[in-house]
Amino acid sequence: MIKQQHMKLVKQEEIAQDIFELVLEGSLVDEMNEPGQFVNIKVAEGDTPLLRRPISICQIDREKKQFTMLYRAEGKGTTILSKRRVGENVDILGPLGNGFPVREAQVGDTALLVGGGIGVPPLYELSKRLVASGVKVIHVLGFQTKDVVFYEEKFNELGDTYIATVDGTHGTKGFVTTVIEEQGISFDVLYSCGPTPMLRALERNYGHKKVYISLEERMACGIGACFACVCHKQDDPNGHTYKKVCVDGPVFRAGEVVL
């Protein structure tokens, strides 16, 4: 169930350039179950910034009642968030949306997890769940440059992990698609989160297989009330039917909505 809670900040650390790892604690974690869901954060009290910021759940520790987010301090809101300190309370609304369907990968299957930049975080909890249910995981993670790469080792512990950087400063030079082709990776299910051009390429190349993608869209409410985040459906691209990224997504099966 969606709850609003002022959760305790127990860790805040810059793990790569402008990339922060934030751990929050509170009973709201009890409600978190699906990898790929997100929370909507009020980064500070008061009216600036006014709107909440959607950030994916990266890791869930139900025993400690803690969850982890990874975010890039970029605009006003995330920069303010990055200045919040241990011991403070952060206003969280969540968990929101529908996550990745873990069950679509069976015991013994190979799941390919493809992340781009700040789209990588939700894949971590997903990967853990897949591994726990006996699925073999392969990770292909794309970043702009070496300085913004994060969680490489953590993913490595769960399965083979390939890194691509646009400028070639780490791993393969190029895009995630370069890596998948070069390595000739085969898979039963593909899960992905990252920039839309990347998702489009994956849909184009592998859309005939089981591919699940997580979308981003500017949001206001995050709960389905404002109609900010709608997208057309592929079977009615110019009509009035629609999906809301916040409640029907953020994860969709490739081919379902217009990217």
């Binding site: 006014l50 709107l51 909440r52 206001a220 009330a225 404002c226 109609f227 900010a228």
Partner: protein
């Protein structure tokens, strides 16, 4: 005594707190969070004759103390609202205010006539002020004669009282208000959003795919307060006030200005529990300010109030 109960044309409200149109959908999402029956009413999302997808995304952008939206009146259309949304809302103890929109007079008239027949629709809110539709829309709300004519036509067909929602994007709000009052409006709701724009620093292009959008949130509150203060002194129909309401204190400020009930829009996105919170906090605030009933706050900004009670 219910210290918050308010009587308005067509509407017996147990309290004057109403989620604003377009900020609450048809209530389904919020029904998962709390019992909607605690509300005074709901202003449902603008309904047009045909289903509308609305504008391309991005449809929202943030501004200092506010936000822009260019949703473009996305809605499932009259038929579906009548067949699915309104019947679903009957489970709650709530008079519904149906927000009616269109691009031509005939659209408005058609939707108004039909939707007023729904048993739980106790009033219409005529949206003559949406800045996000290309044809009609905004023009209806900025020319007094046009606004009045539309009001008259809708009044002819509506079985329930008609509230007209005013646009703040005018030089003289009083003129428009008086025109629609004379045309038979039973009440006013104000204000809709101010027209605004934000531009992306990296691309140099407007953030909203639509270019312009409607500015809402706390940033516009002083404009709304000013307009309600001006209009409430010269009309004899009640005003439902809105624009940036976040707290019980804001509600009182609106009553002082001359509102008889209020609607909460943008803040539902920031805090989905804001409406029940305000309803809960109001009685204590009335105590603190020394009022028995919220209606005592009405119009204090301009009324000569007799201080010995």
């Amino acid at each position: 005594m219910n210290r918050l109960a308010v009587e308005l044309p067509g509407l017996s409200l147990k309290n004057p707190i109403i989620p604003a149109s377009g900020c609450f959908g048809f209530g389904r999402e919020f029904a998962n969070l709390y019992d909607l029956s605690v509300l005074g009413s709901i202003m449902i999302k603008a309904t047009t004759a045909e289903p509308r997808f609305g504008n391309p995304t991005p449809r929202v952008a943030e501004t200092p103390g506010g936000m822009l939206n260019a949703i473009g009146l996305q809605n499932p259309g009259l038929e579906k609202v009548m067949a699915e949304e309104l019947p679903w809302l009957e489970q709650f103890d709530l008079p519904i205010i149906a927000n009616v929109a269109g691009s031509q007079t005939e659209d408005y008239v058609h939707v108004a006539r039909e939707i007023a027949k729904a048993p739980n629709v106790h009033a219409l809110e005529l949206n003559i002020s949406c800045p996000n539709v290309k044809t009609g829309g905004i023009a209806f709300g900025t020319v007094p004669e046009v606004a009045a004519e539309l009001t008259r036509r809708v009044k002819e067909v509506s079985e329930v009282p008609v509230y007209v929602k005013l646009s703040p994007n005018v030089a003289n709000i009083v003129e428009i208000a008086q025109a629609v009052e004379q045309a038979g409006a039973d009440g006013l709701t104000m204000i809709n959003t101010l027209l605004g724009m934000r531009i992306d620093l990296k691309t140099g292009k407007p953030i909203l795919a639509n270019g312009m959008g409607g500015l809402s949130g706390p940033a516009i509150k002083p404009v709304a307060i000013r307009m309600i203060h001006q209009v409430s002194q010269v009309v004899n129909i009640p005003i439902i006030g809105m624009g940036g309401i976040q707290s019980a204190e804001d509600v009182i400020e609106y009553f002082y200005a001359g509102a008889s009930a209020v609607a909460v829009g943008t803040q539902n996105f920031v805090d989905p529990f804001v409406c029940p919170k305000i309803i809960e906090e109001l009685p204590a605030l009335l105590d603190k300010l020394g009022f028995d009933h919220i209606s005592e706050c009405h119009g204090r900004s301009w009324k000569e109030v007799c201080l010995t009670t």
